[in-house]
Every structure is written in C-alpha cells, then in structure tokens.
Subunit: 120 residues, 2 copies
C-alpha cells in the first residue's frame, strides 16, 4: 500500500468520460479520478459528502440556487443531501474523495450510472 | 458549506511550518494544508490512514524500510499503524486528508504536536 500515485500518469490510462476510476483509499473514503465533459445528471447523495477537486481544466457544480465554478487547484465539498449537477464545457480532469459506498449518480439511475468502478 | 476553496489562496494566509490548517471536511475526514521543511518526528497513527499530496515542492516520506519521494501532483496514503517520518529539504506545501481525530504527531507528543488546529 505504501506506494505513491502520480495523478497525471493515472489519467493516461483511460480516455472515457464520466467513469470514475479508483486510484486510492484513505480510511473509508475512495480517491477517484474522472474525465468529465458536458452535463451530468441532477442527483444527490443522501448520506455522503463528496469532494471535487480540479486537476486540469474548469468545471461548474450547479446547485438549485447557484453555480460554483472551479478551476485548477480549487476544490469544494458537496454536502450530503444537496442536489447538484457537475458539468464541463471542455473536457476537465477531476479528483473525487467520497465514501467507498458512493454511487456516481447518487439517488438517480441513468445510463451514466457506474455500478462497478475500475481500480487503476 | 457549498463554497469553493482555492488552495493557493489559503496558503497565503499563513507562513508557519508544521502547523496543519483545516480547509475543509468531507464526511469524517479533514482536508488540511501545511508548509513543511526539515525533518518531522517518527510516529504512527494506530487507527488512521493519512493521505499526503504535494501541492508545491518535493517531500520524502521515510519508512523504516524505504523512502518514498513525492513531487507536485503525486500523493500517497500512509496506512494506519505504519511508522513514518515526513521531511522536506526545501519548504514544500502539502495537502492532507485524514480523520478529524488525527493528531499530527500520532503516538508521539513533542514540541511539534498541534493539539488544536486553526481553520482557515
């Protein structure tokens, strides 16, 4: 377990979007990375906070009452129970920290739902 | 809670070393940042994994049997119970993710121990 992870090297291992890959675990939280572009589905996680950090590019996290714009070196935590929709005009690379139990589409099941995540 | 954090801006708010500052919380984990330079104390956290990610500069995580060198964009998770010693030749900026219960010096109490952490 005591090996390091180079985040950019991990991004070279896949090109698909909206498919979070597990790159680490700290306690009961997964560290995931994803490429995202376009609009995701509106959803919430009833019991799980979700941390978004931008590694490359820019993203928006839409809430019902506002939009938060994130760029490289910025992060935010979406609290449990809060509806949100991630989106990116151009492809962006993000890192996520959230419980190992978290489903990407939360309380929604769509064609973007990823039930089984690949570990890189 | 739904506000973003710019990590570099947070680093502008302090200059002291080896004093982790809390900049976020995701579930039961704190997101902390710290400036480090020199050798820390050998220690372990019996019940807590600890994630180190380099934001600026380079660090070493020494273990009893090896040393892992981390640079910008790299992270590693130090598993619970494993003795380690962070160090940096020049000042480095790091981000930490670890349970809210984690004491920086783990099972050791030294002049570097920070019992109460500032939130930025």
């Amino acid at each position: 377990m005591t090996t390091k992870v180079n985040v950019n090297d991990k991004f070279k291992l896949f090109t698909e979007q909206w498919t979070p890959k597990v790159v680490g675990q700290v306690n009961d939280q997964h560290v995931k990375i994803a490429r995202i572009q376009g609009d995701f589905v509106w959803h919430k996680h009833d019991n799980e906070d979700e941390m978004f950090m931008v590694i490359d590019g820019e993203i928006d996290i839409e809430f019902r009452d506002k939009t938060v714009h994130l760029t490289v070196g910025e992060f935010m935590v979406v609290p449990k129970g809060v509806e949100h929709r991630p989106r990116a005009q151009k492809e962006a690379k993000i890192m996520l920290i959230e419980p190992v139990t978290t489903l990407n589409t939360g309380d929604q099941v769509t064609e973007q739902t990823q039930e089984v995540l690949e570990t890189l």
